[in-house]
């Protein structure tokens, strides 16, 4: 979190205001981009003065860093634990596991604040090294490692063919993330997303049929 308040007593009212600022910033940044939103836009939306914002955040940059932090912190929540994976495999097949994974993932990524934060970081990745870092390392790389782990388990148990788990993870994830990105942009534009939803399910289906041990 931002260090603005390191030497200040934090009151309930203060926390509430800071929270309002945060949520409003996420909303506006995700809609109009970091550079398309002014401090005035944010403060006037919640009826405080610009100067009040600077009591809670050092700068506009401090504010967006807080959003990055929020995203990075919550991205971890999208993972099934080893125990959960085991219990799914005990009752269902690998195909169900992949579906369950996507469900879990989408459950977190489509929470409004996370979806907006994701969008903000995606926009910022081109201008802000910190955003690119979080997106490519904390998000993509970690996520690929997670899938690698899952595929390794599936190979070990001979549920799927003896393919390189790392390569499988890359193949599987990049397709999914490409589709999910387009899906999210469509959702923001309030257009139909059914095509993309179907594609994602077909992707899992297709991928599964290519790798399963039959």
């Amino acid at each position: 979190m931002s260090n603005t308040q390191n030497n200040k007593k934090i009151t309930a009212k203060g926390r509430e205001t800071k929270d309002k600022i945060f949520r409003t910033a996420v909303e506006l940044f995700s809609k109009n981009g970091f550079y398309g939103v002014s401090i005035r836009d944010i403060t006037s939306a919640i009826n405080i003065k610009e100067s009040s914002l600077y009591h809670h955040y050092l700068s506009k940059e401090d504010l967006i860093n807080d959003i990055y932090f929020y995203f990075a912190e919550n991205i971890d929540a999208t993972r099934l634990t080893d125990a959960q994976i085991d219990s799914i495999l005990a009752e269902h097949d690998g195909h169900s596991l992949l579906q369950k994974c996507l469900q879990e993932f989408r459950g977190v990524m489509e929470q409004p604040l996370m979806a907006m934060a994701w969008r903000i970081i995606s926009m910022q990745q081109y201008r802000d090294d910190k955003a690119f870092e979080i997106l490519s390392i904390d998000f993509h790389r970690m996520r690929i490692k997670y899938y690698e782990n899952i595929f390794r388990t599936l190979v070990k148990r001979r549920i799927i063919k003896a393919l390189d788990p790392k390569l499988l993870a890359f193949e599987y994830f990049y397709t999914l993330i490409g589709m999910l990105t387009e899906y999210n942009v469509l959702k923001f534009l309030k257009r139909k997303t059914q095509v993309m939803e179907n594609l994602m399910n077909e992707h899992i289906e297709f991928f599964w049929n290519k790798i399963k041990n039959s």
Copy 2:
């Protein structure tokens, strides 16, 4: 192109200046984003005055629209013709065809102006409907149709298994574009891209092995 000059005689000097403006804008926008670059930044980089720019472009928006247009126009050049496809298949196998396709594609997309324009449109897709439209329709959808066509040919000639060409195209393309996007960001940050290059080749290899008729 922009309509600024509809009723004006275009001299060689004018064309040259407009071209300088265009190329400088592409360079700066791709580095610092549309909102991170001012008209002043562009004109001072080529030693003309702001007012001179407005002789060639109606507005900053007119300028970026010209860049969109440039991208959309040149994206078509990345396609192998049916004749070229035939001749490749006559001498080599489907695997070579996929490699050749990627080569052709990268050859166009990595030309400096195109790479920068692509980056600009990618950034703008979140803020500008026109950019999203070009990226998702003119680029992604058309490209997928192109691959669909190739896979259909391969299926017809029994070079690959009898799978749905459209699905194959989606699978193939989304992975590639995800990797290529990350590859391009890395290149802009002047970081190592070898990992991504290897991944792209492994992707083709992996995909090919999954679909070929053996």
